[in-house]
Structures are given as structure tokens and as C-alpha cells.
Point group: C2
Chain length 337, copies 2
DNA sequence: CTGTTAGCGCCTTCAT
DNA sequence: ATGAAGGCGCTAACAG
């Protein structure tokens, strides 16, 4: 690869002039500029981003650590991050923590060693205080994505989980569902916690009894599936809410095993949801997370802070859309009619 | 951030000793090593990967350019690439070309400027000879992913599209489907070309008339959808094969609009497919692409070439699995019985 | 077993 | 309007 030295030699100028032509950092005479451009063309010269980054102590790159690259929800966010980053001339370094605290910490370290200008982190379920301490000691700006921790002083991007859950419950109770099984998952995960809180908001709004509701929490294990199955099998459950896609998979699998269907036997709604939900049955009512937009928003927060540092931490909540489909719309409070 | 100079000063050694402790590149006395480690601990020193890369002219990073980060198929491959890369201590730089030739070229340039040690590229539909020329002039190794171009001298990873299509057709003809509408898409894309070729292999194997089959090619437009609809509406079509997920979406949408169902009215199979195909109806027979494994294989090829350069280009074909489901299994050649 | 030193390719201050 | 030169942080000869 040609370097600036070679370009300079061919153009008959100093390397500093080449640099200034390249970056437009000071005026260069018309004629000189043309000679330099020709020399660049001729040699096929390409700037070395590493050397440049080293000298400027700014790499024009950002890091993204996702907790599960396999989940479509995170793939969407990554897509949004890539898009917004590229638009700003930032290169994206991607790492996956696979929901493992150690790997998460190592991923962050690796990206920092590569001197990313900023970091976007979707913390995993296992992520503990040690990562937080590390992030806090950083000079590079950090944005937390997807899982919002109210007590932490970082910029954060999440969905309006609590509000959406509340609205979902409002819609379902309005159509006559008086009682729910909520498969809520690991409520140490803020996203799931918020959705559950919103559920109870909605129950309260509808003047229903909170202790009448069945809430299944805990990490996703066969045990959780069994508990769900037992609750549903015991009968008298008109409504089911799954608080994430993996949890919906559990619920749907168990329902099928019980020979139950939605909306015929039970009203059903899920968060995040599946691709192409209108092509397949059952058509599930879904609280849709704007993954792409969340990724974009995270980059915006980051870029903003890179441009002008200072100012307190900001949290952005993106609105979720409730896509109502047959699984709740066609559910009938009184099948007898 | 602390540098090696500071660590060296505190440990009372030269920076070269620090470097050797860090990299294990030469023997360092027990005691000295311990002092250095302490100094590292104490200062919170982190290696600067950029400076290191510059000096060694090796960045321990690879670039991945995908043609559509939004497609789950590519998200899977990216996941595999990330996984295999991380395992080898390689950082992943991700870029998206969004099926645009210009952006693809720019993405490659950007990654090269960042001095990635190698490049994995899933070429987009619009990708032309100019990218190829550029790749050929590179010193860094390149692996082409997903879309295999027989005439190009790169390492490549793809699926065994032709063979799988042939087997799929064998299975469907065996259960009595004598005639197909194939929604084949843009056959300039090698993957789709191969699937179509395999289709005709299968037709020939089954001693069916090739000119009896209806093949719809062309980029995905409303026009393609209309043609599909017209063909199916005209009747007498017992089998449908969609050669990619987006094409399956078109086909399913049009079928629904016609009030037709699978397997009741028509046998249906698709390539690549949808998530959780057993949870929803219709349950589609699917030729599943091993996206994750393809990503892993691409990194293996790349790493191999980094370790020991030389040798001719290799093409790896990963086997696809045919997941047979009701959409073909329950189709009945003679609904009268 | 350890230290000294010359760059890797670039930007930027200072000088002209 | 342009050049000269230092140094970003690190590795790898070379030298002891």
C-alpha cells in the first residue's frame, strides 16, 4: 500500500501538504492540489485509518456489545446502530456477550483497546456491578441499550415498556378478559420488570383484583414451562400475556401440548413478537419493539455526546406499537352466544 | 489512559520488558515479571490495539460486509462470523451495503482503511465487476459468503442449493405433485440460480416435462406478485416452491388473497424459511440454510489463509436440511378419497 | 536476562 | 502558500 510519503514524492510536495489536501485542513494552491490529487489517483493511495486514529486520538469508530446476537430483536437493533453509525462516518465494531457476564466484560475491554470513541451496550441478564464500575471509570461515552437501569448515570435507550403493557391490558380487559396468566420471565431484567409493573397498572386501572392474577417469574427453564402448563391446565384462564418472544415460545408450545388454541380457548398477547405475524396462524396481538429505531437513537445519543461533551445523562424511551390481531380481537368473553 | 512508559517506570524496567511480559515474546525473570504485572494492575494499563496493529501491521480484526442486515438470514451469518472471530481473538467490523453497489464498495474501502486482516463479503444483487476488481487487487484475503460465483478465484462459502432443491423436488414429486409454480426471483443471484437449476434436475429425475412447469423469475416487484397470482388463479397448480423467504412472503400473501390454503389446496415449500415454523400454521416444509455455520466456515477459511498463505481458492458448500412439514406432507394428490 | 532505539503512517505546531 | 519535524504507543531487531 502506498503511503503519504510516496504521494508527496510523486506530487513534488511535502507530506504535510498531502495531509492538508486530504483533510481540507488548510488552504492549498489550486495547482498543487491538483497535482496531489493526481498522485493519489496514480498510486491508489488510501488513508490509513489506524495511523490517523493514533495521531488524532479519535478513531471514528464505535463499539456495540449485544447480549444475544442470535435474537432477532438484537439483530434489529444492531441494524439500526450500523445504519446510523455509517451515516455519520463511524465504523461499527460488533461484539456479542451471549448473556454471559465474563464475556461481556471482555468484549467491552476488547473494544476499548481498539479505542472506540464510544460504546453502546445491551447488558445481559448476568451482567453485574463489575461491568458498571468499569464503564463509570471510562472517559469514552457509553449508551445503554434496551435494558434501562434507572439508578445508573448513563445515557440510555429503551422502550416505553410500562406504558405499553398498561395500554395492552386496557385493551384486553375492555374486551372482557377479567383474569390473566402473565409469563413474565426474569424480572431482574428491567425490561421485563417494567412490563410486569405496567401489567399491574392496567389491572388496577380496570379495577380488577391484583391477587386474582397469576404471574410466573423466573429464568427460562423447563420448570417455568411446567408451572405455566399447570396453571393453564387448571382452567379458568381467559387471558395470557407473554412478556418476550422466548417466553411466548414457551407459552405457545405448552398451549399446543394441552390442545388449547387462541383465540378459541384463550386470549393471547405477546411482547416483541414474530416476523410476518399476518401470514401465519394464530395471528398474535403483539406489542412491537422498535428495535431499529432504538439502535438509531443510541447512536444519536452517542454522537451528540462526542460532538459536545458535558450535560447530564439522558434516557430516551421509544414508543411501542400495539398490533392488535385475532388472538385478542376474536376472543369471545362468552362463547355461548 | 496509562501507557507502557508509565508501567515501565513504576516497575523500574524498560518498556521492552513490559512488552515482552505482555506478549510472552521472550523469557522474563520471575521477579521482574511480577513487578511488571503489579505495575500493570496498579495503573490499570490496557494495551493500545491500534498502536500495536500499526507496529505489527496486523490488526487482529476482520471485516464483514452484508448485503442486508435486516434479513434474518444475514443476521444469522453475522452471528456465526462474530462467534468464530471472537473465538480466535479477532474483532469484527461490521458494515451493511443494503444491496447497493456503491455502498458495498465504500464499505469495503472503509474496512480496508481500518486495516482489517481479512474480509468477508456477502455480495449484494447489484454488486458488479468493479468491486471484484478491487478485491482482486487486494493483498488481504477475501471470503465470499452466501452467493457463490463459480468464475471467481476467491475462497467462498455457500449452501448446497442445487442438490437441496433437487432433493426437495424428489420428495414432492414422490408424494404425487406433478406440476409446480416456482417463484424463483432474480436468477442473476447465484443462490437463486442454483436453486432453480436444482429444481429442473429434480423434474428431470422424476421424468416430468420441464416445459410443463411454471417458473417465475425477475426481481421482486408488484409485477412479479401479479404474475404469480395469475398463474395460481388459473388453476391446476398442485405445487408451489418459493426460492427465498421474501419470495415466500409474496407467494403466501397472494395465496391468502385468493382464498387458497396449503396444504388443503396446494403443496407448498420454501427455502430459508421463517422462525419457529412449528408454532404457526401453515407449517411449511422448509429447506433450511445453515446461516450460523456458514458464518463460522467463512471465518475458518479466512483464518486459515491468514495462518498460512498460498494455495488455490476453495469453495465450501454446507448442506441444507429439508424440514418436511404439513404443507407438503399432508397434501393429498387426490382430495376425492 | 534486560535495555536502547528505530520506525509503523499520520497530523499538527511552528517556522518560513 | 508550503515545509520540517516531533511524537501518538507500540514491537522487534540489535546490543549488551
Amino acid at each position: 500500500m502506498a503511503t503519504m510519503v510516496e504521494v508527496a514524492r510523486i506530487a513534488g510536495v511535502s507530506i504535510s501538504t498531502v495531509s492538508h489536501v486530504l483533510n481540507g485542513t488548510r488552504h492549498v494552491g489550486e495547482e498543487t492540489r491538483i497535482r496531489v490529487r493526481q498522485a493519489i489517483e496514480q498510486t491508489g493511495y488510501r488513508q490509513d485509518a489506524l495511523a490517523r486514529a493514533m495521531r488524532r486520538s479519535r478513531s471514528d469508530s464505535i463499539g456495540l456489545v449485544v447480549s444475544d446476537a442470535g435474537e432477532p430483536a438484537f439483530a434489529e437493533m444492531a441494524h439500526g446502530v450500523e445504519h446510523a453509525a455509517a451515516q455519520r462516518g463511524l465504523t461499527l465494531l460488533l461484539a456479542n456477550s451471549a448473556e454471559d457476564a465474563d464475556r461481556e466484560e471482555r468484549a467491552v475491554q476488547t473494544l476499548l483497546e481498539r479505542r472506540v470513541d464510544g460504546l453502546i451496550l445491551a447488558r445481559g441478564a448476568g451482567s453485574g456491578p463489575s461491568v458498571v464500575k468499569m464503564l463509570e471509570s471510562l472517559s469514552a461515552p457509553v449508551v445503554l441499550l434496551d435494558r434501562v437501569f434507572a439508578e445508573l448515570a448513563f445515557d440510555q435507550v429503551g422502550a416505553d415498556n410500562r406504558e405499553s403493557a398498561r395500554r395492552l391490558v386496557a385493551a384486553m380487559t375492555a374486551s372482557g378478559v377479567p383474569r390473566f396468566v402473565v409469563i413474565a420471565g426474569d424480572t431482574r431484567v428491567p425490561t421485563l420488570r417494567e412490563r410486569l409493573d405496567g401489567f399491574f397498572d392496567g389491572i388496577s386501572d380496570a379495577r380488577l383484583r391484583a391477587d386474582d392474577q397469576v404471574v410466573l417469574t423466573g429464568v427460562q427453564t423447563p420448570e417455568l414451562a411446567r408451572r405455566f402448563r399447570a396453571e393453564v391446565a387448571s382452567g379458568g384462564i381467559p387471558g395470557i400475556i407473554a412478556c418476550s418472544t422466548p417466553l411466548a415460545v414457551v407459552a405457545l408450545t405448552e398451549l399446543a401440548a394441552l390442545g388449547m388454541r387462541t383465540p378459541a380457548d384463550v386470549a393471547f398477547a405477546t411482547f416483541d413478537g414474530f416476523n410476518f405475524p399476518d401470514l401465519f396462524e394464530p395471528r398474535l396481538t403483539t406489542v412491537r419493539q422498535p428495535g431499529f429505531e432504538m439502535g438509531v437513537a443510541a447512536v444519536e445519543l452517542l454522537a451528540d455526546r462526542l460532538d459536545r461533551p458535558g450535560g447530564g445523562p439522558r434516557t430516551v424511551r421509544l414508543q411501542q406499537r400495539i398490533e392488535s390481531r385475532e388472538s385478542t380481537l376474536s376472543w369471545n368473553a362468552d362463547p355461548g352466544t
